[in-house]
Assembly symmetry: D2
């Protein structure tokens, strides 16, 4: 796995139903940007907020629409071991290519417990696994040492780091330098350029829901070592991220992505509980920003 793998939002009509036309438009919109894969049911995809039924449907429909054009990764993080296994089975049946697994996010595990958990779960999964470091949500950091040991497990093939700690990211990269086939992806899009420049393989960047080409361009520039272009795109990304800062809560980030897509006519901006779509004042800010960056005219 190399390149840009957008963590796709889940277009919803309401708490119980997918916005299917929106989902189709969204997938086409993202694929048109030249991305290298798609990641379903991650944090940006509101995975944990959806009912099991809706998760299963989302995987099925998305795989049908994507139809093998790019690899599909499915988030199976759950506080329940059994539910993660079931969802992974379903993902395999639907034709997904890999699963993505963060630590169980209710009761925090120690590093040794975490490693055992990976060792117990991995053999039960039909698909290869990306580990997912997301301490702001899971309260647990996957330590460099734990990653190194986990990477010895048979079907663990990659890592996504959304920790936002660039020193630790460099440590992860250094620790895995001898395994060039192990995919190292980064989360915060603001660090995407430098992560690839210093040895990372790609990014799981939410902004690619809205403007996939921007991140594909950054990936290509970073691989090519084109510093001028990297700097230019880096600044664009920092303007672009204003879209995430229009609300006052942590949820502002996902709300901003969904609202932008809705303003652009792509899909519904309904948010699963406990959140709600941006209301008038925030929506106005989003629209103004979209005009500014030429995503609306």
């Amino acid at each position: 796995m190399r390149g840009v793998v957008p963590p796709m939002i889940t277009p919803l009509v309401d708490e119980y139903n997918l916005d299917l036309p929106g989902l189709k438009k969204l997938i086409e919109h993202i694929l048109a940007g030249g991305v290298h894969g798609l990641f379903l049911l991650g944090t940006t995809g509101e995975g944990p907020s959806l009912s099991n039924k809706l998760k299963y449907e989302m995987v099925k429909k998305s795989c049908e629409i994507i139809a093998g054009r790019v690899p599909v990764l499915v988030g199976i993080s759950d506080t329940s071991f059994a539910e993660s296994i079931s969802l992974a089975e379903h993902a395999a049946e639907c034709g997904a290519d890999a699963v993505v697994l963060a630590p169980p996010y209710y009761f925090p595990a120690g590093q040794a417990e975490l490693l055992e958990y990976f060792e117990h779960l991995a053999p039960k999964l039909a698909l290869p696994i990306f580990l997912y470091n997301m301490p702001s949500m899971t309260k647990v950091t996957i330590n460099v040492d734990t990653l190194q040991k986990a990477s010895e497990i048979d079907n663990i093939i990659g890592f996504k780091d959304s920790g936002g700690n660039m020193i630790r990211y460099h440590e992860y990269i250094n620790a895995m330098r001898d395994k060039p086939d192990f995919s190292m992806l980064i989360g915060p899009e603001e660090l995407f350029g430098e992560s690839v420049l210093f040895g990372g393989h790609g990014g799981v960047v939410a902004g690619a829901n809205i403007k996939p080409r921007l991140f594909v361009d950054m990936y290509e520039a970073a691989v090519a070592g084109d510093l001028d272009k990297i700097k230019k795109l880096h600044q664009e990304i920092f303007v672009f991220r204003q879209l995430y800062l229009c609300g006052q809560y942590t949820s502002s980030f996902i709300k901003g992505v969904k609202c932008s897509l809705n303003c652009m006519g792509i899909c519904s901006d309904f948010m699963a509980e406990p959140f709600h779509a941006f209301r008038e004042p925030e929506r106005n800010k989003i629209e103004a920003l979209l005009h500014k960056i030429k995503l609306l005219d």
Copy 2:
């Protein structure tokens, strides 16, 4: 709801099956101690770690065994709105008396978002609701102000605070002083005595799985204002809690409860993933402590 409401552990044979004989023994053991209710599928009950199927079975079997002898509260906290509703329906069908709801524990909500979430969810639930403050797991504190507003919602009838911040607990109590029917329960058993002394109504205390009478005695002493007895029991509770400190991770607490019950011949100590039962060295410490406090001879 007044008094001692143990957050019951979930006896497991393995990841997929209840230890039913153990469950029966455990319920009889706890009820024999004179407790005032039972709380299923809380943090101590490993609720979030269990598959939906297992949760449903646990509620059904427990309600059958308890058979109305004490009120039953069922934890329905989930990151998915729909799953919380389903479990609450099932709990109502099984004859449970109330549900217990913590904030969704993946993506953290702001206070206004939290209040809306309670407002949206409450009308959809057949059973009355206890809110549950558990910031160490959910990353979100239910503010005093939010509790006060939420207590205006029709079927929200009580609050369980496991925050461990005694100043805030007093604030909660003060805020609800005009609603004496609203139940105020506290989590950490180390603070149980003083919480009742200063106006609380009871405790959701994990130690009551092991030695229910100790906590029932404390409740009665605190209600009676018997200071000498309270101090004596308070010190006993601080010896007792050594049972929770035998391991090195946060999970040491639940492992300690399950291991103690297993040593006492009551039920299995199997832990759901990502945890495992205490191994030899910790188990030896537990046994020594149980001898010391006369729960084993």
Copy 3:
């Protein structure tokens, strides 16, 4: 040391000068309330914000005014070992009775480092020492185990806990139960009643700057085990603490104490940098509260 030991504010005319008439009035006001000691240059006393010159003067003048009527404790916490020693020498010369020492608060020390620090510093000090746990300011908690070991050092005679964690406070008390001469004092006044009820010896309570009698009454009620009186005073203290919540920053607490004293005509409310006295809107709130609790008519 038993009872109420107010952490006295430092009345200032400006950044460089004590408000001497205010200091005199303040000391008389506090002593008239029947307190059992006075603590200078603590957190409430803005100790770390004052120049060395001003600290020395504050100790000298206060000792002169107090003139042996109650024991005087002097805060010598500093990031520099040498400065702590010098200030302790000065305190001894001025006739103070003990010093109070928190961990150095810039670079955080580990527990073993902390214990060595106490072992190195204690023999160099002429006065007996109270250790001071103040993790919100120092970033370091003095662990129960560290306290127990430190209490073996010759002239360490007591402990002040401002951690606000009541479970840990009970652990400290339990750990020191065999040394009844070792003074155990608590910081947050909201927990003063229960701390004495459960074995503590007194409180370093900022509110006693404003209304010393309230806290002396609570101390006496708690020692006597008069539950009705304790509950009544406990509620008064929770009304009283509104005085600390009138501003929006952490500093609101000290500003509230100084503003109250100024409104009551006792001393200047000048705050050392980086803070400033409450401005009009907050001052109006303070005045309203003081009327409500009958400290102004």
Copy 4:
């Protein structure tokens, strides 16, 4: 100010005395590496741990030895406004070129309070000022917005960010893009390369005490945009940093720098309280690492 500005350690014979011969050797060692300035009394320089007397002497002696060969920056961060001013005056008299100021580090200030503090202090200082963001020690982050406003104050001429949050660093850089004369320096040396690549002006990097040329090389490579060299040096820096990880406490970092310099025969490794020099086991690790990276043969 551009380039590499090592935060120099303070060589000590004991708690009260500078290791003067060591200081001379150290300064020559660092200057020989081609650095662009020297920063005294920072975190690495144990500034807050030293007595006032020792701080003054350190500034005086260092300025004499440096004798204008590079600009000298002096840390004046203090919890006391008056002490900061005095030290800045002394620095000016000794011929230093600028001062470095972190937020007062005991009682945490809000952003508005912080800005007022900068506004009040700046006019009282004879030397130009670098602000210093060091939240792990001060508990306070200087927000992007606060930096922008503070940069309007007359003699505030630069910023050193040791926050370690690379997203925020990019935001700082973007916020100051219109003021190219305002110096933007970064703290963690692990992020030095990318910070200069993306618009930063230099680094305050502790490793330059030990191997100044490594960081000067990195600076030059980053300014030149020589990606291959940057990557090579970046990896060297990550090997080099093992020197900081030989102990178990936060202090391991400074201990590692001092121990390395001592092993290299440059100066004493005495640490001011509450710390102590590395003992045998850690020293052995340091020696082995120094051999590995060819700083010892």
